[in-house]
């Protein structure tokens, strides 16, 4: 390019003859005006955003004042609704109970003698094991609601049970519930009727507690859970001291041991995908997996979950209790048991599970990144649910009381009975 000759197409000296009249081309005008109109529209919309925010704030103050009013005297109507949502599944709509399975609350000697205070204790801590009500024997597991219901809510339920279902005159207020929570909030569930002896005077004879000796966990398990090994992190360092999980780390407490063991084996084999858990599972022996699974299955702990995904709880409840057959989704509880307590060995409890975990796993099933459910049942369900459905159901499940622990005798029976079904994943 050094020795270029001047270009033969020399530009005309009088170029741009229309310079004077061609000021600003009209497309420039058009575009500028169109953009300006668009901009004004955008800004008008944003100004409504300001109003939206203001409204919310007012609503908040209103909510707060209603809450304060409630604190004074428990709202029995609210108690009735809460009873229908949380208790009626087992105890019946009118608290009539189910013969041989769930003790009645209407006309129950336990409620009559203990009043709203005893109900509060039981609702908060849960109860498991042998129990006599009105002379009939029951042996069930009632979950602890302390971690999923507020003081106000418990006071409403307990007051409704005491005064609405029975003719006790005394209700219990939210501050009183708060006092009970301080003393007894984090205690284990009552050990059958015998456990209530200290709480209720003159309680008719109760069967002896048969609390299976939970026994000291093997040193190895304690080591794995609390400290980990040279290569593997401690389970509790992510899943929490009580196995309650957090965010996308799932709750493990009370899940069926065979289910837990299968998941660990799947992580080992790569049939379930999670880098951290694959790392952990590869560092565990089969024996350790079995022991850990039993450890967590027999663990009882409060719920560590609360709705946090802005899910529509009504829709969530519908999906959990009735399903949405128009998109081919049966109720969660059809397989995962009433109130999501789980059905061993294949159907884990889903109550009080961490919402981000549930929503994320449903999404992973939908996308195929997780594919280890029996018969691939969850894949179809995951695909049928859309984003807001996933969040709705995850949030609803997070609002439920946690599943009770499985006792060791039950676990032992399960282990011997359940054939390990390998290779039927997908």
């Amino acid at each position: 390019m050094t020795d270029k000759k001047p270009d033969p197409r020399r530009p005309d000296e009088t170029f741009e003859p229309f310079e004077e009249t061609r000021r600003i081309p009209w497309p420039v005008y058009s575009i500028a005006i169109a953009l300006a109109i668009w901009g004004v529209i955008m800004l008008v919309q944003t100004s409504t955003a300001v109003q939206v925010a203001d409204k919310t704030q007012e609503e908040v103050t209103k909510e707060d004042s209603t809450k304060l009013a409630q604190a004074a005297a428990p709202d029995l109507d609210a108690g009735k609704t809460l009873f229908a949502d949380n208790c009626a599944t087992c105890h019946g709509d009118a608290g009539e109970g189910v013969a041989g399975a769930f003790p009645p609350l209407h006309g129950s000697d336990v409620v009559k003698l203990g009043g709203a205070k005893a109900v509060t204790h039981i609702v908060m801590r849960g109860i498991g094991g042998k129990l006599n009500v009105n002379g009939d024997g029951y042996e069930g597991q009632m979950p602890a609601f302390g971690s999923v219901l507020s003081d106000t809510e418990i006071s409403e339920i307990a007051s409704y049970v005491a005064t609405g279902l029975n003719d006790d005159a005394k209700t219990i207020s939210a501050p009183e519930v708060a006092d009970i929570r301080k003393v007894a909030g984090d205690k284990d569930p009552f050990d059958g009727g015998a456990g209530l002896a200290g709480l209720i005077n003159d309680l008719p004879a109760q069967p002896n507690s048969e609390a299976a000796d939970q026994g000291a966990d093997s040193e190895r398990v304690a080591q794995l859970v609390g400290k980990g090994t040279d290569t593997v992190w401690a389970c509790a360092s992510c899943h929490g001291d009580k196995g309650e999980g957090i965010e996308t780390v799932p709750r493990l407490a009370g899940l069926p041991a065979p289910y837990l063991a299968k998941q660990l084996h799947d992580f080992q084999r790569g049939t379930r995908f999670n880098d951290s858990m694959a790392y952990v599972a590869k560092g565990l022996s089969d024996r350790e997996i079995g022991e850990l699974a039993n450890y967590y299955a027999s663990m009882s702990s409060p719920s560590g979950a609360k709705p946090s995904l802005q899910g529509d709880l009504k829709r969530g409840a519908q999906l959990a209790k009735q399903g949405d057959w128009s998109i081919g989704v049966p109720a969660c509880f059809t397989c995962h048991g009433p109130s999501g307590v789980g059905v061993a060995p294949n159907f884990p409890g889903i109550a009080a599970q961490q919402p981000s975990y549930v929503a994320h796993q449903l999404a992973m099933w939908a996308g195929g990144a997780r594919h280890n459910s029996p018969l691939g049942l969850m894949a179809g369900i995951g695909k049928a649910l859309n984003d807001s459905d996933r969040r709705a159901v995850a949030d609803y499940l997070a609002s439920l009381a946690p599943m009770p622990a499985m006792d060791k005798t039950e676990l032992a029976a399960m282990e011997s009975n359940i054939p390990v079904r390998e290779g039927v994943d997908q």
Binding site: M1, T2, K4, P6, D7, R9, R10, P11, E13, F15, E16, E19, E20, R22, R23, I24, P25, P27, V28, Y29, I31, A32, L35, A36, W38, G39, V40, M42, L43, Q45, T46, S47, A49, V50, A53, D54, Q57, F273, D275, A359, H360, A363, M364, A366, G367, G368, A369, G382, D387, R390
Partner: protein, 524 residues
């Protein structure tokens, strides 16, 4: 509550002010209410009788004789700046390439803290933004301002002090960052203590340039002059306000951060690039720019709208809705100045396509100018909330940033260097063919780079929006595109090395041009 309503009003006010200003401006131009620049003004860059010959970079131009006094006066400052700029270009490119390699070969250089990705990338950004683009741009400013004002560059000594301070500050800053001492804000990583040196250096540029403008020998300030003079005022203000320690924190600091970072692009690098292109395109072609009156719209709309786009980096973030919308709206309004500049520059080039074949510098500069249009259009679209959901947080943004800062600003400045250096030194480029090689390496390298990251970024963004895909998917799918980026970056770096070789070689070359120039003067 009170404050929200006030802000709602302010928000509306801001946009109304911008719109009113723009309307008045356009009305005034259309109705000749103000003196609007016209074709005569556009000819300011030419001497009488000039403007019919292509301004060959390697051939003495008859116009240069008239200007040789002016050029000789500024040439040493310009050459200092160019030498420093090209040094930082090479230094920054190598760091950029290394950072790019680290993204797909993570264990390649993991042994030392100084070479970790988070630091290499930061050194790259600071080197190229403050070392290369700013100094390259200032070189063009110091070259063009005296020419369009037909006066000598004033206070060249102070300018040289500024250059020395700036480079000392920058070197200290880059070393600090590599060793982990950083202010921790994007574009503002250099510790504020070191920023004092840089601010002093920047201040040394303001006074001489204003003094030169004051002493100009022309009535009309050519459009490049508006951009340059506004830019040299804007940048020090931005730089000082943003770096005051202890004032900003939390989310307010984030809004300040992006007010600064985007204004460094919009009110500093862009004016440098656009101003340079506005001068060299008509100058090299030898014809004034097409529809010069539009340049007024281009400049003021840029100032009004570009200055408020920064918060589009925080769309969907923890900042007030009104603030985001304000920036989104202004981002889209950027179509106006960009179209104006595009009509000015591209029509001038398009009606003189023959010149692209003749002049390598013009090829760089007009390619850069086209990239300015594309980058701005892309930026406006990217600021829309729906598009931003996909592209934000992904490598798409990186591609976009390079489209603006590299394909536009850097290529324009490289073209300017190829045009200026022979005139400033009075020598020929020793390896003219390498200029063509440089051009094509950069264009091809950039194309590979840009399309890799654009496609990869969109896929990455879509994967991250899809709840049914684990996060890992967005990383795994990106890897081949990251490799493509390294390939493109490697080609670009190679191009820069060619520029550096040419520049070093011209330093050792024998003087050749001056004699020819003298001959021409004699001939006239």
């Amino acid at each position: 509550m009170q404050i929200t309503e006030t802000l709602g009003l302010l928000l509306a006010l801001s946009f109304v002010i911008s719109l009113l200003a723009l309307t008045i401006l356009i009305w005034a131009i259309a109705n000749k209410q103000v003196h609007t620049p016209d074709a005569d003004d556009a000819r300011t860059i030419f001497e009488p009788g000039e403007g019919a010959d292509i301004d060959y970079p390697d051939k003495p131009h008859h116009f240069d004789t008239a200007r040789s006094g002016i050029d000789a006066n500024s040439s040493s400052v310009v050459m200092w700046l160019i030498a420093a700029a090209v040094f930082w270009l090479i230094y920054g490119s190598l760091h950029g390439l290394a950072a790019s390699l680290e993204l797909h070969l993570p264990d390649l250089m993991s042994g030392t803290a100084q070479m970790t990705f988070g630091r290499m990338r930061t050194v790259h950004l600071n080197s190229v933004a403050y070392g290369w683009a700013s100094q390259g741009g200032l070189a063009a400013v110091c070259w063009i301002i005296p020419r369009i004002f037909r006066t000598n560059l004033r206070m060249t000594g102070l300018l040289k002090v500024g250059i020395v301070l700036w480079n000392i500050g920058l070197a200290a800053g880059v070393l600090a960052i590599a060793n982990g001492w950083t202010d921790g804000l994007e574009w503002l990583e250099i510790p504020w203590q070191i920023d004092i040196i840089l601010a002093a250096g920047a201040a040394c540029f303001v006074a001489p340039l204003i003094a030169t403008a004051k002493n100009r020998n022309v009535h009309h300030i050519y459009v490049s002059g508006w951009y340059f003079l506004a830019g040299v005022l804007w940048f020090p203000v931005l730089f000082i306000v943003a770096n005051i320690p202890g004032v900003h924190h939390g989310v307010e600091q984030a809004t300040m951060n992006w007010w600064y970072a985007h204004n460094v692009l919009g009110l500093w690098l862009t004016p440098l690039g656009v101003g340079t292109a506005y001068y060299f395109i008509p100058k090299i072609i030898g014809k004034p720019v097409y529809s010069y009156a539009l340049s007024l719209v281009g400049f003021w709309a840029l100032a009004l709208f570009y200055s408020q786009v920064g918060i589009h980096h925080l769309i969907g973030g923890p900042v007030p809705t009104w603030l985001v919308t304000l920036s989104v709206v202004h981002s889209v309004m950027m179509f106006v100045p960009v179209i104006a500049v595009a009509i000015n520059q591209h029509v001038t080039v398009a009606s003189n396509l023959w010149a692209l074949k003749e002049s390598m510098p013009l090829r760089f500069i007009s390619f850069g100018a086209v990239m300015y249009t594309l980058a701005s259009f892309q930026g406006s679209i990217e600021a829309l909330r729906s598009v931003n959901s996909i592209t934000h947080f992904t490598h798409y943004t990186v591609a976009h940033a390079h489209l603006g800062a590299y394909a536009f600003v850097s290529l324009v400045l490289m073209g300017a260097i190829y045009q200026i250096v022979p005139r400033a030194t009075g020598k020929y480029w020793p390896f003219p063919r390498m200029i063509a090689w440089h051009f094509w390496l950069n264009v091809i390298g950039f194309a590979v780079y840009f399309f890799s990251l654009t496609i990869g970024g969109i896929l990455q963004g879509l994967a991250q929006l899809d709840a049914t895909k684990p996060f890992a998917d967005s990383v795994i799918l990106l890897k081949p595109y990251l490799e493509g980026r390294s390939l493109g970056g490697g080609l670009m770096t190679l191009g820069h090395v060619l520029l550096a070789i040419n520049l070093i070689a011209i330093g050792f070359a024998k003087k050749t041009r001056e004699t020819e120039t003298e001959n021409m003067v004699a001939a006239e």
